[in-house]
Subunit: 371 residues, 2 copies
Amino acid sequence: MAVRFELLKESSECNARLGKLYTPHGVIETPIFMPVGTRATVKAMTPEEVKDLGAQIILSNTYHLYLKPGHKLIEEAGGLHKFMNWDKPILTDSGGFQVFSLGKLRKISEEGVEFRSHIDGSKHFISPEKSIEIQNSLGSDIMMALDECTPYPSDYEYTKESLERTTRWAKRCKEYHKDWDRQALFGIVQGGMYKDLREQSIKEITDLDLPGYAIGGLSVGEPKELYRDMLSFTAPKLPKNKARYLMGVGSPDYLFDAVISGIDMADCVLPTRIARNGTVLTSHGKLVIKNAEYKRDFGKLDPECDCYTCKNYSRAYIRHLFNVDEILAARLATIHNLYFLIKLMENIRTAIKEDRLLEYREQFYKKYGYI
Amino acid sequence: MAVRFELLKESSECNARLGKLYTPHGVIETPIFMPVGTRATVKAMTPEEVKDLGAQIILSNTYHLYLKPGHKLIEEAGGLHKFMNWDKPILTDSGGFQVFSLGKLRKISEEGVEFRSHIDGSKHFISPEKSIEIQNSLGSDIMMALDECTPYPSDYEYTKESLERTTRWAKRCKEYHKDWDRQALFGIVQGGMYKDLREQSIKEITDLDLPGYAIGGLSVGEPKELYRDMLSFTAPKLPKNKARYLMGVGSPDYLFDAVISGIDMADCVLPTRIARNGTVLTSHGKLVIKNAEYKRDFGKLDPECDCYTCKNYSRAYIRHLFNVDEILAARLATIHNLYFLIKLMENIRTAIKEDRLLEYREQFYKKYGYI
């Protein structure tokens, strides 16, 4: 079944919207946060645990899976869903973001990007066609077109050149992809911090008439005000009847801004990464559980949370686990952080339904702290 | 409810026995393998997972918990069961084994052992009374008396001196402990590789009339034949109506020998430790999952296993997880290895019931390989 987006409701207060995204592996209620499973596993979690938290879709990384264990091996295994035992939707990125993050290890041309593996230095080449070929092997429900995520800051000239190449690459991705019932392709809008370039990119990318569009090149180190400005300028200009995906955003405040600007999907390694370092998200703000003040604190991580971790373990216990470097520490913190964001998005969906999203945001920040 | 052992059946073929061990946190069917949760967690596992595998009791380590997070903190938390969210029986060792393993960092006297922490070098002193005080704080169902595990090899003179001190320490532990309804105390038989010293130790320790007895100082590096000889000499001499616990044994072959000699309980870090290094126990012997031969092997770890790991994941996937150092690798391998040993003991209990333990052992070795 081809991926399609159904718009259920638009907020009367802001650009937020409720929707349903239909995919070959199930229907997703939006707006949604997508946990990241970089190497065919959401770090520290089993797929059942991720599902039990309420996650409806996960993201996996083409670059990492291409290098290890290799996309052909995953294809032989029956595709990524089967390989990793996850039967709900999967979105894969194009590999571009990681390749461009390699800095000096990569060389860009019209044809694609040549790069050296961060693991063993071996030479590789990813073209738009190659990215789709890899993602076809993985069998994700939603593939992303190869793009260049222009770094911040970038000058006008380079940003324009780059976004135009991104458009040409998106076309090549679309042409190369065949089985649209099995896998969808989303295009990515670039254009850096230049509004006219964002407009140009939106025009060019949406001309391709794809089932969904992402905004790339935001939340890449720019000041928060600039992020908010560019986001609220760009997101509402995307077609209403297509899914809108903001790449790489996962802190509560950035997610609120995203939803309020009309974003349907977002992903980030933030909740799982900070969890493994012992930082947890709570309704009263972030908490660094290793701190001495929690040594004899027998309360929950978050007094208002009813996740598995909060129902069964104390701050003192979790602090102890981090102190002695136990695997269970990462597990319990990851469960809690993912639950926090998934629950937040659930509350956000309810608030949109009841036309009280701005009020809910205010209530949230009052406890969480204004950022 | 005071801990007590009920002998249900003696094998007609060998010294193996079936029993029930009643504890304040539930009844244990013996013979049993006890997973180790050194620092108040069975490494990589949640308590629910350990329980779901069929584990009836776990072991935790007094030395480690005394240093971090400290037994007083665990007492404040409501005891070890509550602290770690495990409501089934717990056995704690005395701390002696770890202290004696410190080598030059410890100094033994009649009063007890002075040692330096392996973590920060701080000075500590554990006496028999202190060991019980700590274990009282932890609130384990079964405590172990402080003993010296004589290393292999040790000369006759030293072994004799040491076992006699172990007896005096066991007496002091018994005298110091008060609430026998809440916690039981097991004594430990030493005597190294000298049969007359083992007999002397059995005599002295069982004179204390405790609810259970352990055999210490075996499986400490001696040749396997010597282990089997000493074990089959010692175990049957322990009182029939008391639980018999062999410390530090967890490989299938050592467990078979233990049960056949009349042992009811055993523990070892082996299954969990080798799991984290990527070695798994299967009905066809050990398997090092990282090996290249499993790269494209889409079969189960063990074709005859129905654990969570084997039901859902391929060798190729688990190998990939180990290769990229994912936490899930340790989790899946640990689940499998613990299940393997717990299931083995379940099969052993059934075989004893049906008087075909020796036949079952033969069947097992035929596939597993003779060791």
